[in-house]
């Protein structure tokens, strides 16, 4: 069946939304039929989020019309959208960690029933749809996948006609993704339409009936995902032909102590509700890339802090070429050849209100020699910032612009470029291609491999398995603050990786209660 066979549940006609300086959606039209799983596909910044925000009543279109079940539909706020049978699961959850599941669900409802009745309904719905969930558990104790179930169940209790899901699988293990897909297929078979936002093409091929592809705010194509290859869809999304990254010729480096050696690294988390690191050991030699996978919140941030020097440990826990650095701060490690790009770009890797020039100084001061006797050489700093901007295609009006004025993807390119341009010996990156479009992601991966070919040891932490398998030589999983033994990437299957990641978190427990 194709989209046109079904009576359209939601029809969007000629919707346009402009923000100062950017047109987020230009004349977008598409429709979703009852029981259809419809993908909205596009790079970051293509306008997917703005489009669904209009459907969910968070943003008002400048022009264009929408109809829902044949009637004109113009929700003034999310409450109106929910009343019309539209529900949305956001990429970032809005849950209170200190409350239990049922209390969180009640907070999101217009007229919550008494708690006892609500708990019963949560059990019922979670059982009906194969989403194991115990209404009495504290949300703070739940895995990311379970938290998402809370959000989904909250939506399902409202009996939606249209369910919008924004990047739902970015926090899930492969096994959890399967559970989610079963639920979505069941919902669709009962007549609920699902609008599914993602840029993961294989998922869309296996799940969706139809896809609308957006590029720079416009609909550039519609297709039936099953009939296209992932590459064809990616090229429609990007509007260009993509090539996979190339590895430089493998060179033999003189035998030395490893560029990065981590031995029995244990540290309490400095982050509230964080995950402590528990005797992590690995080593990375020159020219090697270690990929570390794992669902967010399993110690990625803490590991990054311990490697970059923000979190200090016993001296021997982190060594580089035989030199103990565990007790040294970030600047000493930079002098020793380390560069690092933490996950949170705005506020951690970059200062939001400072210019790109100042942000270039932030980490470049030492390795690029931007200060003399403590006095800043602003000309050299500006020059460094502008070279990064040029080399990494950072779209900005100039180097004097505040970091927060850049889009997430462009800031990402700047941060990664700033670190990779410092001829490093050890590269530490958390989520290298977070928020960047497919062509920029390819460029970043290529740049990482180039640095590795130049002799850098690379540690990449990412939740994107495809990315890790593409660039890493060896692969390990961080789970609950422990790192699995790194294994060579060659010959590793997705199922094995899923099991390394701990399978579907909390399944058994939840079933036991249900």
């Amino acid at each position: 069946m194709t989209a046109t066979d079904r009576p359209p549940l939601l029809a969007v006609q000629g919707v346009t939304k402009a923000y100062p300086g950017v047109v987020a959606n230009a004349d977008v039209s598409f429709s979703v039929g009852a029981g259809e799983i419809h993908a909205l596909l596009g790079e970051n910044g293509a306008g997917k989020s703005t489009l669904v925000k209009m459907i969910y009543g968070l943003v008002k279109p400048d022009s264009g019309t929408m109809t829902l079940r044949g009637a004109a539909y113009a929700p003034s706020e999310p409450r109106a959208a929910r009343a019309s049978g539209v529900a949305m699961v956001f990429q970032h959850f809005s849950l209170f960690e200190a409350l239990d599941v049922a209390e969180n669900v009640a907070l999101g409802m217009e007229n919550p029933p008494p708690m006892r009745e609500l708990a019963g309904r949560i059990r019922q719905v979670s059982q009906d749809y194969g989403l194991p969930l115990d209404p009495g558990r504290k949300v703070g104790d739940l895995s990311a996948g379970e938290r998402q179930r809370v959000e989904i169940v909250r939506c399902l209790l409202q009996d939606p006609k249209l369910l919008i899901m924004d990047e739902p699988t970015s926090v899930l293990t492969p096994q959890e993704v399967e559970i989610l897909f079963k639920t979505l297929r069941q919902l669709a078979s009962e007549g609920t339409a699902i609008l599914y936002i993602s840029h993961k093409l294989e998922e869309i091929r296996s799940l969706c009936d139809a896809a609308t592809i957006l590029r720079r705010g416009r609909v550039v194509a519609t297709c039936t995902p099953r009939d296209k290859t992932a590459r064809e869809m990616a090229e429609m999304m990007v509007g260009a032909v993509l090539s996979p990254p190339e590895r430089g010729a493998r060179r033999d480096w003189p035998a030395t102590a490893p560029a990065l050696q981590v031995t029995n690294l244990s540290a309490a988390s400095p982050i509230p509700f964080g995950t402590s690191l528990k005797s992590i050991s690995f080593s990375v030699g020159r020219g090697q890339v270690l990929g570390i996978a794992g669902v967010a919140g399993n110690g990625q941030d803490e590991l990054m802090l311990a490697l970059s020097g923000e979190l200090r440990t016993a001296p021997g826990m982190v060594q580089s070429f035989g030199v103990a650095l565990g007790a040294k701060g970030p600047n000493t490690r930079r002098r020793a050849g380390f560069v690092a790009a933490p996950e949170d770009r705005l506020g951690h890797a970059a200062a939001p209100d400072m210019s790109l020039v100042e942000n270039a100084l932030l980490t470049g001061a030492i390795r690029k020699g931007l200060t003399r006797n403590g006095f800043i050489d602003w000309a050299a700093t500006r020059d460094f910032a502008e070279r990064v901007i040029k080399a990494y295609d950072v779209r900005t009006p100039g180097s004097g612009v505040a970091a927060r004025a850049l889009s997430g993807g462009n800031l990402q390119k700047f941060v990664i470029g700033r670190e990779l341009s410092q001829s490093p010996d050890v590269i530490l990156i958390n989520q290298p291609t977070w928020g960047v479009d497919a062509s920029a992601a390819a460029a970043i991966r290529q740049a990482i491999l180039d640095r590795a070919a130049d002799g850098a040891a690379v540690v990449v932490i990412s939740q994107d398995l495809d990315e890790l398998l593409e660039i890493a030589d060896s692969f390990a999983v961080l789970n609950g603050g422990r790192l699995s033994v790194p294994r060579p990437v060659q010959g590793l299957t997705i199922d094995e990786i899923g099991l390394m990641m701990g399978g579907a978190h909390g399944m058994e427990v939840a079933h036991g209660h249900a």
């Binding site: 008002k60 506020g347 970059a350 200062a351 939001p352 100042e358």
Partner: protein, 360 residues
């Protein structure tokens, strides 16, 4: 409906225009207040802003301008570094008092020796006294995670008690017939901080304030430490990532601002005030907070703001003697300045958007 929308980048125009607009609004609102008090608003504003500079007694009052502006600028420069780093020293008044007591103690201890090293030694002791008083909240914060705002503020009252004790006890003039207050430094040349050019009000403390302005300007514009101070205030996590040690930053900023306040205190006690007395402190340490913000935490801005604030002090005194305006009205007027400044300051980072109802 009116909403505030965050600007993509801070507005340079509003950043520069804020103090001017704030002063203009203060004049307007102040004028209304003076009118309600039954005074001629135009005359009151003229008395405050114009007469000290160009009026009948300007020959004397112009000199007073630097005398009042000097300590305000010196203290505000020190405070501004901490404020930039997000470290809130509210206790400059106490550090100012302690600087004066430490400096005066050194001078009085060697009275009546004549040696050209006495005055420099007193200055160093004054800076040390202020620094020491700033170190108390610094160490309590780094060791026990106390709040520096509360601790530094409460230490002002401790310093005031010590000041009374000094004026009535250990620093009292033995030849003063039992009156409270120390010997007068103006009659002890080796320890005095006289007017350098007659009629200008210029003394070593004012020179020091100008040096502090230049020093702070270079620090913030050109030096990595200035960059780290700004970074620590704007993005604490990015600062740690850069390699800033937050504890060190607390010690450094409270130390610098304490030392600056201490310097202002010792220059004041050896010069314009002349002696340690019970009512030696007149609120420079608190007013400097307004000066620091009025100057947008920028050294040159603080220089101008210090002069403006000194003007409202002198003009305010004139207005209360000549026009019979209550002192509280003058204080309210100065408070309005900070109020409007903070209100207008919103425009730097936000713009006002007007919506017709329903379009939001």
């Amino acid at each position: 409906m009116v909403t505030l929308e965050k600007r993509p980048s801070p507005s340079r125009f509003w950043s520069a225009a804020t103090p001017v607009v704030a002063v203009a609004l203060t004049m307007l609102a102040g004028g209304v207040m003076f009118a309600l008090l039954g005074k001629n608003p135009a005359e009151a504003i003229r008395t405050i802003f114009w007469d000290p500079l160009f009026g009948e007694f300007a020959w004397y009052l112009r000199g007073q301008l630097l005398v009042k502006a000097g300590p305000l600028i010196l203290i505000a420069i020190g405070l501004s570094l901490g404020f930039r780093a997000g470290i809130w020293n509210i206790g400059a008044e106490g550090q100012y008092i302690m600087g004066a007591i430490f400096g005066a103690s050194v001078g009085l201890a060697v009275f009546p020796t004549d040696n050209r090293l006495i005055f420099p030694a007193m200055i160093i002791a004054g800076a040390f006294g202020g620094w020491l008083w700033g170190m108390i909240p610094a160490i309590l914060k780094t060791r026990f995670n106390t709040n520096e705002i509360l601790v530094s503020l409460m230490l002002v009252y401790v310093a005031e008690k010590i000041l009374s004790k000094a004026a009535l006890g250990f620093l009292r003039n033995p030849e003063g017939a039992g009156f409270p207050g120390s010997r007068n430094f103006n009659s002890y040349p080796a320890a005095a901080n006289p007017e350098l050019i007659a009629g200008t009000g210029m003394h070593w403390g004012v020179v020091m304030a100008f040096i502090a302005v230049i020093f702070a300007y270079i620090l913030l514009q050109r030096h990595i430490l200035g960059f780290q101070i700004k970074l620590a205030g704007q993005a604490p996590r990015a600062a740690r990532f850069h390699g800033v040690n937050p504890q060190r930053m607390v010690v450094l900023c409270l130390g610098i601002s304490g030392a600056c306040a201490g310097l202002a205190g010792v220059f004041e006690v050896t010069g314009p005030a002349g002696q340690i007395s019970i009512d030696f402190n007149v609120g420079y340490g608190f007013t400097a907070i307004i000066v620091a913000f009025l100057g947008r935490l920028n050294p040159v801005g603080i220089l101008l703001a210090g002069l403006l604030m000194a003007l409202t002090y002198i003009g305010g005194e004139m207005a209360s003697t000549n026009l019979g305006l209550p002192a509280a009205a003058i204080q309210a007027f100065q408070g309005m300045l900070l109020f409007f400044l903070l209100a207008v300051d919103v425009m730097t980072n936000y713009r006002i958007r007007l919506f017709t109802k329903g379009a939001a």
